[in-house]
Amino acid sequence: MIRLMLVLSALVLALTGAALVIGPANAPYWDSLSALVVDDGTPLTLVMREIRLPRAILALAIGASLGMAGAAMQGYLRNPLADPGLIGVSASAALGAVLAIQTGLAAAFAFGLPLAALAGAVLGVLLVLALAGPRGASITLILAGIVVSSLAGALTSLVLNLSPNPFAASEIVFWMMGSLADRSMDHVWLALPLIGLGLVLLATLTRGLEALTLGEDAAQALGINLTRLRLTLVGGTAAVVGASTAVAGTIGFVGLVVPHLLRPFVGARPGALLGASALGGAAMLLAADILVRVVLPTKDLKLGVVTALVGAPLFLHLIYKTRRQLA
């Protein structure tokens, strides 16, 4: 367990370094890092501090958020198919964010954007949890997720199509696929407080999720307050997913792939999986964000495209396995 965390931490550290030195400006690695620390008056400092650093921080924080939220939802629902992107929480958060931007709420009040996305995410989680029920049977969970995703996606498209700004309609793809291109420190300060709060909330679920593996009655007998557990889960997930989506759009599959890959290494303990998935999610998103910069540097290839190419085959494999269990 400790060895796994060390390996993952080393991986995240290495990928953060790579994310900081790789980019279209193509400066020598060592010069880039020294320009980040010491302001040498060259444009490279500007590039490092205002473009690459915020991008790396956001990839780190958002990856950790999505990984941990996925692990928490899977632990609570005891269902490996749960993922905030797949079940519509991200799509509802995107709707909240788009509404805030187009109504001017985001411009009128500093935290209007992440808070509106949070509100959207809360609605999405509540709707899906209510539809899927406490045990979260796979079929109802996925069906509820599809409906919430499509509805939120359709409304997002509608709002953007009604915007007087001619560029808004082309942004539908950003809100559906996600990107970290050209984000600035402003976005970091916008997202980080809420992400931090959400990660702390989710981290407190460790003991509750472990107890829940014995069943709800046994968990209650162990002194776990299920209502509080549920509220913390909803609040934590909505906070991290809302803040992430507000600045980076919808990035799917991270919360599905990462817990699935790491589960065998933590002895399938959902509590231990939380921390490991946070690190794993950060590593996955950093790697994806490096990849989009290397493959198509000028085209702003969307992050969600990369994560879906990795995640969708795995999701199909999981459905196949669950189908056998159901039959």
């Binding site: 915007s163 007087p164 700004n165 050209d182 000028t298 702003d300």
Partner: protein, 293 residues
């Protein structure tokens, strides 16, 4: 046959059998044999040329975009005409003897107007400064205002030569970057690029091989450290595409005396009005280099 009947016929596609083709079109398609007396223009840029050149009472209607301050350089003048939204029905009912359209106007609309025997002159947008002379001359030809066009071309060339004489020599020219939504940067083979070079700047996009324009990553813009960054006027309501123009890096690069320069209405069309844009830009360059160097 009443005009309404003919309109219905055109919609049903039966006109070809009812009415013979007119065939009075000269070598330049769209140049009418006699001076047109009721002209409808349905494109922002042909509107500008037509308003600058038409005889009194010759122009009847311009596109509604020309009456909106966001893109139009001649709002006040355009409000004297009837606005149109480029729909075949409304234009046909205006009973024009010449319709002037841009090559991006709706083809089906233009085809229907032609089927209804309305002469249509289509103008390609001017892609660079030298195209502007051709467009002015052609507008003069279709409106039968050749003399006005010749005068306008002469004035245009004189002012342009004047500006070229004031521009600093190669090697002493400050570098400017045109930067618009999604990080698009126009180069020296585009009209906005030529406005900037005519004002005495070198273009950053040309250094990156983007003479026809292209996406310039924010990092490369920062590394090129331009003397001026020229962004456009944002549209109403926020969009992520335009958010890049408020990025701290762009704000940092725009910090000094050149920051007020934006590409506005005078940049949007290839007409002699671009000279005003070039003059403002050249003035800003003189102030910046006079103070800074």
């Amino acid at each position: 046959m009443s005009r309404f009947d003919r309109l219905c016929c055109a919609v049903a596609g039966c006109l070809a059998t009812v009415s013979p083709a007119v065939g009075q079109v000269a070598a330049d398609p769209g140049v009418p044999a006699a001076p047109p007396e009721r002209v409808v223009s349905m494109n922002l840029c042909t509107d500008q040329l037509a308003m600058m050149m038409a005889d009194d009472g010759q122009l009847h209607s311009v596109s509604y975009l020309s009456q909106q301050a966001r893109g139009s350089a001649l709002v006040e003048q355009a409000r004297q005409y009837v606005p149109n939204r480029g729909l075949a029905e409304e234009i046909y009912l205006m009973d024009p003897d010449l319709v002037i359209a841009g090559s991006f106007s709706d083809r089906t609309t233009l085809d229907m107007l032609r089927r209804l025997d309305v002469p249509v002159a289509v103008f390609e947008p001017a892609g660079n400064l030298s195209d502007i002379r051709d467009r002015v001359r052609r507008m003069g030809a279709v409106l039968h205002r050749e003399e006005a066009a010749a005068r306008m071309v002469a004035r245009f060339e004189a002012r342009l030569a004047d500006l070229a004489a004031q521009a600093p020599p190669a090697g002493d020219r400050p570098r400017a970057a045109l930067y618009s939504a999604n990080g698009w940067s126009s180069g020296g083979k585009t009209l906005p690029g030529q406005i900037v070079t005519a004002a005495g700047f070198d273009l950053v996009a040309d250094d990156f091989g983007l003479a026809w324009g292209g996406f310039l990553p924010l990092e490369l813009l920062a590394m090129s450290d331009p003397d001026a960054v020229i962004t456009g006027q944002p549209y109403p309501a926020d969009s992520r595409a335009e958010e890049i123009l408020d990025h701290p890096v762009v704000a940092h690069l725009k910090r000094d005396s050149m920051r007020g320069i934006v590409s506005d209405q005078d940049w949007s069309c290839g007409t002699p009005l671009v000279l005003d844009a070039i003059e403002r830009l050249a003035q800003a360059r003189r102030m910046a280099t006079g103070a800074g160097r």
